[in-house]
C-alpha cells in the first residue's frame, strides 16, 4: 500500500511538471501531428479590411522575460515606422503577440495559438531550444517564421525547414571568433568552458572545442575544464569551486544572461580572478543587474553588433523612435533583430505581392535590396542570415560596454 502511495506521489509530481509552471499562453487544442496536410483552420483570411497581421512569439514571462519585452517594444516601434510610411501593399501592419514563457513546452502552445488564428507570417522566437519546437509547428502548417534570438547551428543545419528563417547570425561564427580571441589575442594557456546543456549553450561550447582543437594539438593552449550547469538553479558553487582549483586563465561561459550573472558573481566571490568571456546572449542590462557592477568589471563579451554601436541610417531612425517612446535603447541586439524580422517579412510580402506563405518564403530567399536596422537583410537557402560580423566588448567599472580593441 505504501508503495502504491509512493508511485501515486511520483505520478502526481510528474504531472505537476506540466501543471506547476505558469502557462500564460492560452492552451488551445492540442497540436495533432496528423492535421498537417488537412487545412489547419477554416481560412479566416485575417488580411481583409486593410490590415496585415503578423505574429510575434516572444518570452513575455519566464527567465527571458526582459528579452521578450524588449522584442515586443522593438517590433511595435518598427511596425509604427512602417505604418507611418504607408504600411505594406497599402495595408497597415498589426502585431499579434503570443507569450512562450521562455520554455519549449509553452512555445509549442504559443505557436499553436498563432497558427489557429490563421496567421501566415510570424516572428519567433528567443532561445534556440524554445524556438525549435515552434519552428517545427510553423513549418508543418506552412507558416513563415523568422527567428530573432536563436543562434544554434542545429536550427538550420540539422534539418531543412523550408519556412524558417532567422535574422540573427549563427553560432559557429561566434565559436571560431572565440577560439581566435582566446588564444591569439588573449594568449590563454588554460581555458575553462561552462555551458548549460541546452541547444544554444552546448552548441557554442562544442563548436568552441572544435575550433580550439588545432591550438590544443599544437600545444599552445589546453582546455582544463568542460562541463555544464543546470539553468534555473541559484547555486553553482560546486562547479565554481572545481574551476577555482584548476586555476584557468580564462572562463568562457556559453548560455544565457540569468545564469551568467550568477556564475560571474559567485566566481568573483570565490576568489576566481581569471578573464571572463560571455557569449552573445550575456551582455544585457539584466546581466549587470544580477551580477552587480563590481563583479563584471573587465569581463569580455562576444556579440554581433550591439544596438548602441549600429550606424546605418535605418538604425539611427529606429533607435531615435525607440528612445522617444521608451527613453532608453533596446537592451540587446536580439530585440533589434526581432524588429528586423518584421522588416524582412514586410519586404518579402511586398516583393511577393501578398501574404501567401510559399511566395513569401521564396521572396525571403531571393530578395537582394531589403535594408534593415542591422544592415542588409539577405538569407541563404537554409534560412540563415548572411554576413553577420562579430565583435568583442568589455565592461568598464560603471557597467557600461565599449568595444575591446
Amino acid at each position: 500500500m505504501k508503495r502504491i502511495l509512493l508511485v501515486g506521489l511520483i505520478a502526481v509530481l510528474v504531472l505537476s511538471l506540466f501543471a506547476g509552471c505558469a502557462s500564460p499562453a492560452t492552451p488551445t487544442t492540442t497540436p495533432s501531428p496528423t492535421a498537417t496536410s488537412a487545412t489547419p483552420t477554416p481560412t479566416p483570411t485575417p488580411t481583409g479590411g486593410g490590415v496585415i497581421q503578423i505574429g510575434l512569439q516572444a518570452p513575455i514571462t519566464g527567465n527571458f522575460a526582459a528579452e521578450g519585452q524588449w522584442a515586443k517594444q522593438c517590433v511595435e516601434v518598427a511596425a509604427a515606422l512602417i505604418n507611418a510610411k504607408g504600411g505594406v501593399l497599402g495595408k497597415q501592419v498589426e502585431i499579434v503577440v503570443a507569450d512562450d514563457a521562455s520554455n519549449p513546452k509553452d512555445s509549442a502552445l504559443a505557436a499553436q495559438k498563432l497558427i489557429s488564428q490563421g496567421l501566415k507570417e510570424v516572428i519567433a522566437s528567443y532561445g534556440s531550444s524554445v524556438t525549435a519546437p515552434a519552428a517545427d509547428l510553423y513549418d508543418k502548417n506552412q507558416v513563415v517564421s523568422v527567428g530573432y534570438g536563436c543562434t544554434a547551428v542545429s536550427l538550420t543545419m540539422d534539418k531543412l525547414r523550408p519556412y524558417f528563417f532567422r535574422t540573427a547570425g549563427r553560432d559557429d561564427t561566434q565559436s571560431e571568433f572565440f577560439a581566435k580571441l582566446a588564444v591569439e589575442t588573449l594568449g590563454a594557456k588554460k581555458i575553462a568552458i561552462l555551458h548549460d546543456n541546452q541547444d544554444y549553450g552546448k552548441g557554442v561550447a562544442e563548436d568552441a572545442m572544435k575550433y580550439l582543437k588545432p591550438y590544443v594539438d599544437a600545444g599552445t593552449t589546453e582546455v582544463v575544464y568542460y562541463d555544464a550547469i543546470t539553468p534555473g538553479e541559484n547555486d553553482y558553487s560546486a562547479a565554481i569551486t572545481k574551476i577555482k582549483q584548476l586555476n584557468p586563465d580564462l572562463l568562457f561561459f556559453t548560455a544565457y544572461y540569468p545564469e551568467a550573472g550568477l556564475i560571474i558573481k559567485q566566481a568573483r566571490q570565490a576568489g576566481i580572478t581569471c578573464t571572463f568571456v560571455g557569449n552573445n546572449s550575456v551582455p544585457t542590462p539584466e546581466f549587470v543587474k544580477i551580477a552587480g557592477v563590481d563583479a563584471i568589471k573587465g569581463a569580455l563579451m562576444l556579440n554581433e553588433p550591439m544596438p548602441q554601436f549600429l550606424t546605418y541610417p535605418e538604425s539611427t531612425q529606429f533607435l531615435d523612435a525607440y528612445k522617444a517612446k521608451y527613453n532608453e535603447i533596446p537592451g540587446s541586439i536580439w530585440a533589434v533583430y526581432a524588429a528586423d524580422a518584421l522588416n524582412a517579412l514586410c519586404a518579402a510580402i511586398t516583393k511577393a505581392g501578398g501574404t501567401d506563405p510559399d511566395k513569401v518564403a521564396a521572396a525571403m530567399r531571393t530578395m537582394t535590396d531589403a535594408k534593415g536596422i542591422t544592415g542588409a537583410l539577405l538569407f541563404t537557402d537554409r534560412g540563415d542570415r548572411k554576413d553577420i560580423p562579430y565583435y568583442t566588448y568589455i565592461y568598464d567599472d560603471k557597467g557600461e560596454l565599449s568595444l575591446y580593441k
Binding site: 506547476g20 509552471c21 522575460a65 555544464a228 543546470t230 558553487s237 560546486a238 540569468p258 566571490q269
Partner: protein, 303 residues
Amino acid sequence: MSVFFEQLLNGLTIGSFYALVALGYSMVYGVMKLINFAHGDLFTLGSYLGYTVLVVGAGWVTATFGVWGGMAVAMLAAFLGIAVAGILLERIAYRPVYKAGRLPLVVSALGMSIFIQNGIMAIWGPRFQAYPMTAVPKEIITIGDIRITALQLFILLLALALMALIYWLVEKTTFGAAVRAAALDKDTATLMGINFRQVIFFVFALGPALGGIAGVMTGLNYGRIIFNMGWVYGLKAFTATILGGIGNIPGAMIGGLLLGILETLFAGYVSSAWKDVFIFLVLILVLIWRPTGLIGEKTAEKV
C-alpha cells in the same frame, strides 16, 4: 583537502535551503496527508516580501537598522507574512475541500500554486529582481585555504538553529506530542482531547513560514529572484522529503542536507551536468530499498 571541505560547505548551504523548504512539506503532509504544492510558491512569496522590505524607501530599513539588522527585519517580515499566508491558504483552499478526499485537495494545491505564482508575477513583474547589494554583508572569512562569506556562514548557522528549534518543538514538548499524535491518527487524537484545529493552525503557520525565511536567505545569498523560482526549490525539497521519509521531521532535515551534499560532491568531483540524474538515481535506489524513505514512518498504512 581544503577543496573537499569547501565543497562540503557549499553542499551544506544548498542542503539547508532544501531542508528548510522540505520541513514545510513534511509537516503539512504528516498532519494532513496532503502534498502542499503551493509550498514552493510561498517560498518565492517570502523571498519577494523580504525584497520589498529591503528596497522600500531606497533601502530605508538597511539605513536605519544596519546591514545585519535590515536582514533580520526582512526575515522577520517574511516569517510573519508567510505564516499568515499559510493560514489563509489553508482556510481558503484546503479546509472547504478537506472532507472531499485527497485528490480534490491535491488539485486545489496545484491551483493555488499557479494562482500564487501568477499573483507574484502580476505584482512584482515577470523579470528578475535583484536584492540590493548594499543590504548584504560583504565580509569574507578565510580559514586556511577555505573561503566562506560571512553571509553564507550566518545562513548555515541560522538554518541549523531553526531546524534544531523545530526538532525540539515537535519531539520534546507536549504540544509537539499532540502534533505527532494528530499525524499518527487524527480521530483517536481528537478523542484524546487534542485540538486538531490548533494543530493544523500550527502546521500551516510554521511550515510555510520556514519556507519564507529560506526565500529571503536565497535572495540575500544569490541576489536574483524571479516569480517561478519556487518550482525548482519545491521540486528539490520535495525530493528531499521523500528521500528522508515524508511526514517525518528529522527525515526532512536529513533528506535536505544529504541531497545538497550529494549533489555538490557529485558536481564537484564527477560532473555538474549529470548531477540531477545522479540525485534521482539515488532517490530511486533508496525507494527500492526503503519505500518509506531513509527514516520514514514505521507505522502501517491504514487500509
